[in-house]
Symmetry: C2
């Protein structure tokens, strides 16, 4: 059961209010270089990214948004720290969302200007609290705790609410998974703003993948989280891929191939490891939902993978292609992958 | 809060009863080849595997256990299907645990013989139910549901309980993550036998890693699960590595390096992706718990990663080595990794 939140619109994408969980990522190109940045935005969109965030560290980057925003075919969010002029410039350029913490901007007048401009354009603001950059005051009072993250978010939320601005998303990221989980659980009992969830500074494609899957998986299974970003120290297309894998594992969204492959054991008759990797690789551009199995033995394989739309199982020299657990073709072992791809092409 | 379960002993390792969650994996060598199998067992143990399971598909494999069991320096479990003589032979050879489903063995007399031999040697039996191989009868009554998995386990449990055998572990695996989660939740309300949890046929090192992290993470966070196996279509040392990463993410166990590394963004001053991968690689053999950070910029890096025991942050040409957020050395960018390793050697 998903937790009920308000709906917020980022361009043509709805976040919260019962909408499907939205996949987002962030470019790691230099935003001041519109061509390179637009190429990466297109690449991320092709990988299934539904909202793309960009760092806007200076006026030149904000200026580049004038080229980037009209050309991008996916809603964009500007990530801005401290400088309210960058937020105004991003709004002028046609940005679809802002990530800025109103308590860090300076004067109330500056916040008022941003809020007025965002309201006029129907652009939501994400309040992004990070365990690594909490104010000293909050840390002294609460320590590095879920409360500290929530209290920090509240400060920013109240500033916007005082200006009658409720087009808000909130994130409370930490690299510490239990801390991040507890913080989101806590804030979800206190507000109904949609939540952007993520584990920050999670690590590499391997270690970070586990941390993000554990942290986001737990929250999503409890119905918490309206949009997710997997942060990896890797090319952002892997973040998009990982986000989809998490959502698919929990059956919250469907997209592309779900690969079922047996762990190899003493009974395995083919090189499942390299065949599964090859199949995963060759099917990575399919976006239609499809369950594909790669099983080590013809005896148990087809039965154990009967939920798969299509699959292969290895034998001694001769393998099997099957659909929904029923054999459809016997082929020499060396042609198993080709035969599988042919079978998929038919579907 | 961990769910209370009975304690079961596999050799000198306790599973359940409040013991730390045990990491296990399975060899993918030919058990009939004791030398190769013993080498892989040693490799898995070095990677942090606390219980190793082996397939025992025939009499020759059972015979090889006579060589393997006395030589292995980690408790071993024999995975046996149908043939009770293999179970008896494994017990004779000194195996520390059995995985066999008593309802599939045949006559009651055969079950009685296994139970008597296991009892005599203090060897526990794991009942391993798998969504892919449920009996037709159960599937017809319950469909492919959590109830079907639990009912199937119950049949086997009752057979052992009727013989006054309670040295039981139970697993209810499925490749479908929500199905597997619900099945474990359900059985944990009905029995207090320790649970061996896992997502089966999870997939490759990437896709399977996400599924296992999500499925096991959710259950462990609820206090369910006394021993875990991550099933990957990959070398089993990756299963051990992944199991530890999951336990570390939830702070259930500590071992080796926890790497914190920022996602690269427009503000990044060094090649964080390759540096983080290099650091992860070079530190993989450390078993002492250590938090290491690789951050993209000297301005925010040390502060955001102040929880790290030691870290590096990139600057333009010159980087920083820091401990607990405090700078200790400035070094040219090309020497950052070396300087980090030196700093770690000092700890």
């Amino acid at each position: 059961m998903r937790k009920k939140t308000r709906a917020v619109r980022i361009g043509d994408v709805t976040v919260g209010g019962g909408a499907p969980v939205v996949v987002q990522s962030m470019t790691n190109t230099d935003t001041r270089d519109p061509d390179t940045t637009l190429r990466q935005i297109a690449e991320l969109r092709d990988a299934g990214c539904e909202v793309v965030r960009l760092a806007v560290p200076d006026a030149e980057a904000a200026e580049a948004l004038k080229v980037i925003c009209p050309a991008a075919k996916v809603p964009l969010v500007a990530d801005i720290h401290y400088d309210y002029r960058l937020a105004l410039a991003a709004l002028d350029a046609g940005i679809n969302g802002l990530r800025i913490n109103p308590g860090n901007i300076g004067s109330k007048q500056k916040v008022r200007e941003i809020v007025a401009a965002a309201k006029e354009r129907g652009v939501p603001i994400r309040i992004g609290v990070n365990a690594g950059s909490l104010h000293k005051k909050v840390l002294e009072k609460y320590g590095l705790t879920p409360q500290a993250l929530v209290e920090s978010a509240k400060e920013h939320i109240y500033i916007l609410e005082a200006l009658n601005f409720n087009d808000i998303k909130v994130s409370l990221k930490a690299s510490d998974v239990p801390l991040m989980i507890e913080a989101y659980r806590l804030i979800s009992t206190q507000f109904d703003y949609p939540l952007h969830i993520g584990v920050t500074e999670a690590g590499t494609l391997r270690g970070g993948l586990v941390k993000s899957s554990v942290g986001l998986g737990i929250l999503l299974a409890e119905g918490i989280g309206d949009t997710i970003r997997v942060s990896l120290t890797a090319h952002p297309r892997y973040e998009v891929w990982a986000a989809w894998e998490i959502l698919k594992a929990l059956k919250l969204r469907r997209r592309g191939v779900e690969l079922i492959s047996c762990p190899t054991c003493g009974r395995t008759a083919i090189d499942v490891i390299s065949i599964a990797a090859e199949v995963e690789d060759k099917l990575q551009n399919i976006t239609k939902p499809l369950k594909v199995a790669v099983m080590g033995c013809v005896v148990n394989g087809p039965g154990e993978a009967r939920e798969a739309d299509v699959g292969i199982a290895g034998g001694k020299g001769v393998g099997l292609v099957f659909r929904k657990g029923k054999p459809v073709r016997r082929v020499p072992e060396g042609q198993l992958v080709t035969a599988l791809l042919e079978e998929i092409a038919k579907l």
